[in-house]
């Protein structure tokens, strides 16, 4: 599927700082799942869908994503066995839930994500005060800060919705003019110069082909990477909106 946008045509070098644990926590939060009792089949299935999406878009996927996919499949297979038939562990520990290590890792990471929010609040408060002759500091006042920024997973989630609803293009269209990501980048900029804030869905014209939809999405990612535009949500899981960064 990724073949209509070749490397020569365009490759988005978006640095993805989120890892597989971020994706798992995202999925858990999104469906309000109990982190202490993760439905592993369901999570594994959704995880693989996101992985496929990232592959299709030819994003730089860290090797850790693939490793985690294998881990999830392994846990899933062990869950299918009744406890008595699970392979014995070397040490003589009591029967252990196959999910235990993963859950522990997720909980620990989630704690750090939470205190990162606390640090963010402290940072905002501190950014609003100034010392004399201060060099090298953030001059971004609290009021200027963007609202909650979105993660790559929010963007992928929104994109997959659009992509699913877009019909496969008739064969002759694929043979026609190729869609250039650079053109789409210009279009998005123009759109945002007209209206300051644009909803994510408004980027995609009705009747767009899948090729256009993918090109538009890649163009948007590239503009985010270049810090030309900002994607944000007004609250958790609210619709994604875009604005130019002045």
């Amino acid at each position: 599927m990724g073949n209509f946008l070749t490397r020569e045509n365009y490759k988005v070098e978006l640095e993805i700082f989120e890892g597989p644990l971020d994706l798992l926590l995202y999925l858990i939060r999104k469906d309000e799942l109990n982190i202490h009792d993760i439905p592993i089949s369901r999570i594994a299935e959704q995880y693989l869908e996101y992985l496929e999406l990232m592959k299709m878009l030819d994003l730089n996927i860290a090797g850790e994503f693939v490793l985690m996919a294998a881990t999830l499949m392994h846990i899933k297979s062990r869950m299918l066995l009744p406890p008595s038939e699970r392979p014995e562990s070397d040490d003589e520990e009591p029967e252990q839930d196959p999910r235990l290590d993963l859950i522990r890792q997720l909980l620990e990471y989630r704690q750090f994500k939470e205190v990162a929010q606390d640090l963010h609040t402290l940072e905002l408060e501190q950014a609003a005060t100034f010392a004399r002759n201060e060099e090298d500091r953030s001059l971004v006042a609290a009021a200027e800060r963007p609202l909650a920024e979105v993660s790559i997973f929010d963007l992928l989630d929104a994109f997959s919705e659009v992509f699913r609803r877009t019909a496969e293009a008739p064969a002759e269209e694929i043979l026609g003019d190729e869609v250039k990501v650079a053109d789409k980048m210009r279009e998005i900029r123009e759109l945002l110069q007209h209206s300051e804030v644009v909803g994510f869905l408004d980027l995609f014209r009705p009747g767009s082909t899948r090729m256009e939809v993918v090109a538009t999405f890649l163009a948007m990612l590239e503009l985010i990477r270049l810090k030309a535009i900002l994607a944000f949500q007004r609250r958790l899981f609210a619709p994604i909106e875009l604005a130019l960064i002045p």
Partner: protein, 223 residues
């Protein structure tokens, strides 16, 4: 407007000197000697130090700077700071005295941030992203820590982010861990404390839970 304010200063200045001259007539320059070292003058002296300090002013530095005229313990210096802090608050000044990164600093009141941002037209510095904040949090709460340990918690490579933190001076190398490969250990810096307005690392929120806790805390709903 500048001229006006200069005139006012020139006009008022002689009166101040006159008032001082009554007490210290035989001294060319007012000194903080035993006679003149009233609480008011000590306070003013400390205020002068705060005014010129580029970095948070420590109590030790205050004690040393005043040592020729006033013998002062750090506890006494802390009391002077507290008096200044309360005084600024009471008088509704445009700045506050805050305790930060192991010292004291005059900082503008946050309500005036919009004015200051208009005045200073410097380019805005990139703020810390979520991924950067998370990496920094892991270092702050588990310091000193090696890169592999950070990556074990975040589940992803942190090289680029770590480099950014080092470049910005928020983190530094604390030494090497005596394990095979002798990897670098990382810790947070004074710049880190200043960036987040913390007095010391011990003031990080939720420190006790995060320092080395087992996040499970025995409440797993295992079936």
């Amino acid at each position: 407007m500048d001229d006006d304010s200069r005139l006012t200063t020139e006009h008022e200045a002689p009166e101040v000197i006159e008032a001082d001259a009554v007490e210290v007539a035989d001294v060319e320059q007012p000194r903080l000697d035993d006679e003149a070292a009233t609480p008011e003058r000590v306070r003013a002296g400390v205020e002068a130090l705060l005014f010129v300090s580029k970095h948070p002013l420590t109590l030790g530095a205050v004690r040393r700077a005043l040592a020729d005229d006033v013998k002062m313990t750090e506890t006494e210096a802390a009391t002077v700071m507290e008096e200044l802090r309360i005084g600024y608050l009471r008088d509704g000044r445009g700045f506050r005295l805050v305790e930060i990164a192991g010292g004291y600093q005059l900082r503008t009141a946050s309500e005036f941030a919009p004015y200051i941002l208009k005045l200073l037209k410097e380019p805005r510095e990139e703020r810390l992203t979520q991924a950067t904040l998370e990496t920094l949090a892991i270092i702050a709460y588990r310091q000193p820590i090696v890169k592999a340990e950070i990556e074990a918690i975040r589940g992803v490579d942190v090289s680029a982010i770590l480099q950014k933190l080092l470049d910005r001076g928020l983190v530094r190398v604390a030494g090497r861990k005596e394990v095979p490969g002798r990897p670098f250990l990382y810790e947070t810096t004074r710049v880190f404390l200043e960036h987040f307005g913390l007095k010391r690392v011990e003031d990080l929120p939720h420190l006790s839970e995060l320092r080395a806790a087992d996040p499970l805390q025995g409440k797993l709903d295992l079936k």
